[in-house]
Symmetry: D3
Subunit: 254 residues, 6 copies
């Protein structure tokens, strides 16, 4: 059992009081991912990865995911104007990260791994961590925190296996083969491959424009086509991420 | 299918664009509930109630729960010093409620039901709603929002059935018969009745004390004993809440 | 002399520098209380109680009241839409409580009693206290803070004396017999019993609705009729509160 | 009757609904003013001036004073390190001013006079006003707000009468002849002339130093001696302020 | 070389690590200063003064100026409604001062001189300093900070030399002889004396009015005429400020 | 003349009142860039680019740069622990961007180009823009804002010319050939090529670690060696950026 909130408090206490438990915190977003997929892959994928990572470690727990993330951007997530994309302000995300880390650290935890599933979250998470550490230091508490986005663990070998026809780049992977394959593997009921749209990968000018210009984004909301996604690819991607993250944690918290 | 984030965005759009969908938002907390139960009943119960309520309405969707809530208080939740109780600041909760409501209203939604599962959240949710409505009005958007705590739907008949020996009051129901029965019915795997502790209901002086005094709280963390909880009671409680809330929604949004 | 701000600073210093003075801080609101009464009972009553409590203690001072409180709610205060009800945001109240406590603690004070007169304030005061204590701890300062709402000291005997025909409950006491009797006793010039309105106690559904629906509230703004209020009842209520609070303080700060 | 909160809401409504009532808001501070005087002159003086001003106008009301003000500075108030000086953060004062103005404007009020009694408050009040006006404009509400510090109405004739031996300047008037005379006139019970200290007016270098250096400030906490203060001077000062402010209001809101 | 940001980090480290370097921080505003002058004198003048001051000290560095300041007020800067006047909120200025001071103190710096060039900034700088010092103290860091507005160093002798026909007071010096002379001396290319407007010094009632009333302000935007400004006066003013500030720093940080 | 703050307000007014001026706002940071270079390239480079871009457009102005940026991160800037790196909180940067944009838009400007010089700023600028646009929309003001980081305009041809031995990637360009070449071209006095350090490009694990681990970063503070930087490369880089940005602006604001 490695879901933190599924424990009763005494069991939790016995596993965390020595400060050597690794607490994984998945952080996602509710964001459209095309007409063929649910709007929660940015939550469900890091949650599943975190649980699988935790199961391979001696004493690791997965905290409840932070489901609402920062505003979707045109070039990475299609943009905040799509129906269903449900995002929070940057300051709110900063505060949430800060508060949750401080609360968990006050229980005695000293080792954290924040598993991000939504590109736009990254810098706000960084700031939340920085403010939490500053606050905790003033209480005499020193923590070690790892922050990662799971896709940074996908190596060239896997890329080649998943994209045999060539990889069009992380930039346009929103709702594409990567996320769809992972969802097909993890939550096939939330994907309907019949609805995938075939279109060329999106291309963008070197600047951003505000307010966002919907015509920059494929009408599907995906930045590249998911039509070649498979559950098998998903399994491969999942394993390389889980194993890579486990390796990093073991190195960092040995 | 009534889980909002399980929809693809086009399906969501078709269900919400006319503004007559009812969006239910469960709001909970991660808080110890005694040695016999997991720390997430304040999330799981309103989530389950929301889904059951939604299934009985024509067009209702359940948004992803807000899992982290306001700081546990001694007299209602045992206090914020228990290991595992993982709470956020009041301002963070206010901002989260505000942001999520605004995002959902911008999709065209005009009808919201906030289903609270954690007593301490209430006033911060009220403020989040008030600020969201003020902000939306300035964008020319008027919404109707219902806020409820599910236990307010438990009527006297049900109380008598669940507490045949007399009801010791809502104040001390934290981790007691009510929540434990509901969890036995909804998530029996997260309850271990062998670990319930028998103790008299907690009594408190008419004031609060800060910093909290742990000796005021039973060592178990529960404010009254859960030993008489049953899944059958849970089913009864669940139904009276679900039916009552459905009734209120139909009245309000007829 | 026990009004803090009426002292010169040297007298204040001599009374507070050892940290054993009890500082009482009344916290109220400007809120309509029916056509028969001024809009400041939530300030004047806790102020009068605080001063009477202080006069019975060895070394207690009453700080200037915080006059503006959190937004009136329909079910407890009639709602924030009544003319004259003049309320501040939750974050502003949190910050005010935090700042005032920190300033007073830096003078050497370690014992505080916050005397609340407005139901809607409670949780924001709690948060202000929590943040102040966290901040002070980082400066190496530990304080003990009691928080109370005066009506929680009204016992069953007094209820029976004041409501011989039966008590309709705290929920609907806004502008009713309790507050009006206290004002008749303390500030008879601010009550005009000729203007009291006879109406049945308000009843509400088990949820709140936003924006508030004026038709839920009696047109008078009171939630139950004040017509049976008397100065004598007020005296009785005042004494039971003052004595009860004095007892709590002596217990807590013995 | 011109104390806003002493009215019942229906009387308030009838006086304010047409938007032509003038709302005066006294804003002060709790700050040491020497060993001979209470710590509330910055509240009591603008409160008394406001009430006297209001009594000479057709339809004017005095809102409850904001008692806690911005941090005392060495050169104008002795500094924030004196026991008894009890101040709030700048952001809290900004927010309070903003919230109170918005609440009063939503009742229909359009004319405000903010009567400041504490030098250090000024710029934070300015910002609170600016943010309130910006917010109200978005609700389609335009208000006119006058901001004044009462001492700016003391003219040269009065200065000569009150300081026959020469005026040492506003800068060092903290706890000196001006404020003490006004308090002797308005609240003689809060002044003890036997405790005034004779010392030369404070002189300061052209910069401020942080943290404040107590040796810069006379040990009494006053910046010039109050020993020549009289109630008669106070009466003179009071009248010139009240009449001047009435004149300004009539000009501005004719 | 005394511009902090022009150093490479190792040179900076060697000059600051012992905590005895004096860090000067110019703080200005972008604000209209009449039709004859650029909109940056409030930045350029304190920047030039800081650099000249630093060049006469053993180990002093000038940090990059904070260019955007608090909102221009009618009586001191003409008002925030002039085209080109580009100001930030009070809270933003407070936060900026706080953050920059904390960052510089963490490098080991303990001596700061904040050189203000915009009257309206003062109290927000004070608050930023106060919050920074409070935060740093909790990290065990004590700093000494001087805050000054350069014009406070202009003595009576200089006033007489610069204003041979009599000085109309600091209040109306916005865009007048003082600032224009300094700019003629320091940045003659940014002044066009042909465009100065002759008008009597502005006079104002003893209160402020919001929203600001443009008719209170001379149409030029200057509060007194700059037509008698000369570079020679500027040189004189510059020297008296630089020498005075150097003297203060040597006294304070001896 | 295209420096906004160098204009007098009437000239500014005549250039901006029709809303067709393009306002460029450089945003940088004070951050160490190795032992061979000053700490302001992130400000000076976007400032120079902005001015050159503006000079090629019909009506464009460069606003004063925002000099202090978000906290340096290990993998992109060496980390926030280097002496001299002087950064502000994320919320402060968000607020600054928001305030400056709103102020400039209120002058009538509708076209903005934000020219970023510090990678870590990006998402906080995005949020500042989003909040500013939301606020302005409520005032009935619609703006178009372009956001760019200048290096995104460096094309493959230029890369090949500047890095004839192969490009090690943007990730490690901090203080490397790109920035150093630009500074050699623009500000040769702020570069000392004798102090460049030869080291292999930094490599990092796929996660971030907090608090930052200094041993991850080359001791020089640069992430790749600048020893092959030349002014000629700088000129090439400068031109490709300036021309590219001009092209984008013409396309967007045609």
């Amino acid at each position: 059992m490695n879901r933190l909130a599924d424990l009763d408090w005494k069991s939790y206490q016995s596993r965390t009081q020595h400060g050597d438990a690794v607490i994984l915190l998945p952080i996602g977003a509710i964001e459209q991912h095309g007409p063929h997929m649910s709007m929660n892959p940015d939550v469900l994928i890091p949650e599943a990865i975190s649980e699988s990572v935790a199961s391979g470690l001696t004493n690791a727990l997965v905290a409840p995911a932070i489901s609402y993330g920062y505003k979707s951007q045109v070039k990475s997530g299609g943009g905040n104007f799509f129906p269903g994309t449900t995002c929070i302000n940057g300051k709110t995300l900063i505060d949430t990260i800060q508060d949750v880390l401080i609360a968990l650290a006050r229980h005695g935890n000293r080792r954290f791994v924040l598993v991000n599933g939504h590109y736009e979250n990254s810098m706000f998470i960084v700031e939340g961590i920085d403010l939490a550490l500053e606050s905790l230091r003033r209480d005499g508490i020193d923590c070690n925190i790892m922050l990662l986005s799971y896709w940074d663990y996908v190596d060239q070998t896997t890329i080649k296996a998943v994209f045999p026809d060539g990889f069009t780049g992380w930039d346009v992977e929103h709702g594409g083969v990567l996320e769809t394959s992972l969802m097909l593997y993890l939550h096939p009921d939330l994907v309907n491959m019949d609805k995938t749209v075939n279109h060329a990968p999106a291309t963008f000018p070197p600047y951003d424009r505000f307010p966002p210009e919907p015509s920059w984004v494929p009408a599907s909301g995906t930045l590249s086509s998911a039509s070649k996604a498979t559950a098998e690819h998903g399994k491969l991607l999942f394993r390389v991420c889980v194993e890579g993250i486990q390796g990093s944690i073991k190195t960092e918290f040995a």
